[in-house]
Symmetry: C2
Subunit: 108 residues, 2 copies
């Protein structure tokens, strides 16, 4: 199922506490912010933060915009919303499946 590939990719991208925190940092700013700004909020090397940003970028969760000498990142809230919807739908379908099967079982 192709949908699962995309969903699991996003789940994995969010499956690290540092990346959950990075999204918070990015969102808690009216102005978009750069790698250094994020690094200042975390006790991690700049290269490590850059790597985490890349994971989020590759998963389509954040966006990069070159701005002079710096790269600004911002969260793609539309994608996050879509993710929330996908999770909800997945869980819902799991539940429906169960209900469906159970009624079949009790009918037989």
């Amino acid at each position: 199922m192709m949908q699962d590939e995309q969903l699991s990719l996003t789940l994995r991208a969010l499956g690290h506490p540092v990346r959950l925190e990075i999204l918070r940092i990015l969102m808690a700013r009216a102005d978009s912010c750069c790698c250094n700004d994020v690094t200042d909020c975390l006790s991690l090397a700049q290269s490590t933060v850059s790597q985490h940003l890349k994971v989020l970028l590759d998963a389509g969760i954040i966006e990069r915009k070159a701005q002079g000498t710096r790269n600004n990142y911002c969260v793609r809230t539309d994608r996050l919303e879509a993710f929330g919807t996908s999770v909800a739908r997945y869980l819902e379908q799991l539940g429906n499946q169960a209900i469906c099967e159970k009624s079949l079982a009790s009918a037989s």
Copy 2:
């Protein structure tokens, strides 16, 4: 933040297409099912499926019940629901953070 550890653990556990599928398989049965049943539905070795089940088990998403010679697994729907809630709350808080910051910015 300790909450993030738990959430990211669950996100990672769900962050593999095979495991998303395994949960579907487990849910699509009125009777709980064993490792072999799951393996029959997938083109993977039994040991691999067992490993995936262990990841889900360690994350508290499924439950194991010894039943004679076989081990039956079933989904802990309460945990899945809690996960759904956690995701929703995380996303919501991200959004609120942004709104809060933006209104502060426009007020200054």
